[in-house]
Amino acid sequence: MNLLREELSWITPELCLTLFACVALLVDLFVQKGRESVMVGFFSLMGLLATAFFLYRQYGVTPPAQPVFGCMVVDPFSTLFKLFAVGALAFVVLFTMLSRQTRPDGYGEFYFILLCAGLGAFFLASTYNLLLMYLGLELLSIASYILAGYAKGNRRSGEAAMKYVIFGAVASGVMLYGFTLLYGMTGSIDLTVIGPKLRDQFALDHGTIPISVATGLCLAGFAYKISAAPFHFWTPDVYEGAPTPVTTFLAVASKGAGFAALLRFLQAGFIPDRTLGGPEAMMGYSDKLGTLVAVLAALTMTLGNLAALGQTNLKRMLAYSSIAHAGYVLMGVATMNREGFSSVLFYLVVYYFMNLGAFGVVMYYANTTGDEQIDDLKGLGWRSPLVAITMVAFLVALVGLPPTAGFIGKWFLFTAAVKKGFLWLAVVAGINSAISLFYYFRVARAMWLRPEEEAKYATVHASPAFAALLLVLAVGTVWFGVGFDSLLRYCDYSQNLLR
């Protein structure tokens, strides 16, 4: 019983989130109609705050890797991603409360499902166990399907949910099949056991075809979750059709959790311990896998950027941009070494700030105009300068120009790739960044153009709460571009997978 309590104490954040999710559902049920949305929203925020508190307390005392119940692991890496998820959820909850698109009644359960999705992200970030990884992925995915279609009666939202559920279910099914093959080859569902067993199999030299098939099937699932090519087709439609807060959640929290699981999967299963050395075949396989990811990265960013060029809808453009960013981050994954993984963490944190901000502006804009067309942005800079200025900061960061955090993040990714010998990949990424300048610039230009008909939209000032949120994100985006030392150290410390 003491042992149980000891282990339970390590998953306090998860327990806290579960508890708050359940109580949020009950609050929604038993509170007088018409007021439940706001109440449950505030209640969820409280829950997220409490969870963040437990995570923070855990952070100080986390050992290198604390196993829990034999299927979870609590380490700085997982804590970073959990904090990431909690922060993103908090912003999404706030956005939901402020968005006009999601303001009508009946949004009590929305928060409950959001918290459940967050729980899925938690599991995804802190496990080496294939079963729990699959469970976490499904919890996150199923909740996301519901969220994408939450705007009932909205045809776009319905279409988005259907496309998402079809694509997602197939991808996760394929991944499950890959997991079963890994289990069959090694007799274990624990990646820390699977890794050494695979090493033995490589030593026997049976050829790499079965392992390649299994890995490929598993990677399909991860690629879907992070919307990397060739499994990115769902992204534009779902991002455009889903309510904007949900899109924000998908672009930030869901993608981050996917990357966490992908990093763990590759590290435990397929990167041989360089100090111990491994059989020649495994070293070769690991390098080949890295090259495969590098090719996927190049493909993903190119497809995303080229498609983004012709978009007229701001949300859809940001969807393609988020595909492109998945490509940039994959660049760090492809290195399969310590430096690359650290740069991935750094970039994800940076991406968190700039993408939350950009989608926040989209939401503000849709609140005032009811639409998301880039052309209609005309004159936003004169109507609400604060929002436009923060948007410019986010756009500059998304392009990856100094003095924003986007520049520093990309810098680390590029150096990691070049050091590993992927010079060609860095060149492709550089060209892509140049391409991306065009479509981001178009948005910035539209905002500062004088509109022909001045009074098309009445001036709507951002509410103080909303302006504060955007300012926090913009300050973060710029701040980490200048004083990035502490964040870099933090990411390096949290990247405890590869030393």
């Binding site: 019983m1 149980l4 579960t18 359940c22 559902l25």
Partner: protein, 119 residues
């Protein structure tokens, strides 16, 4: 290895041949004489009304979905029940937590009046 299944395949083939053969023979030899007597319900059952392709109320789907969900959740209880003694208190606590979450779900369903059939 797979050849072990040859008898089974043969059996399947024979069964299929028997069924198809009988159908063909009755089609060829038989003289169908339909009549009112032949078409009525024989000895039991109710007189037929309407088509079988009627639409169900959407409540039926809701109820069926909920039934399946709670039904499958019960699958978790079985392994625990089989080893309840060895798992001891820890197992009881874990399953208690599981049950509480399920009850929250059930409460939700009831409060939303999803179980009221004749609404």
């Amino acid at each position: 290895m797979l050849s072990d299944y040859a008898p089974l395949l043969l059996l399947l083939a024979l069964a299929a041949a028997f069924v198809v053969g009988n159908l063909v023979i009755s089609e060829v030899l038989g003289r169908p004489k339909p009549g009112v007597g032949k078409k009525t319900v024989y000895e039991c059952g109710m007189p037929i009304r309407g088509t079988a392709r009627a639409r169900f109320s959407v409540h039926y789907y809701l109820l069926a979905l909920l039934f399946i969900l709670f039904d499958v959740e019960a699958a978790f209880l079985l392994p625990w029940a089989a080893h309840a003694e060895e798992l001891g208190k820890a197992g009881l606590v874990a399953m208690g937590g599981f049950a509480v979450v399920l009850v929250v779900g059930l409460l939700y369903v009831m409060r939303k009046k999803a179980l009221e059939w004749d609404r």
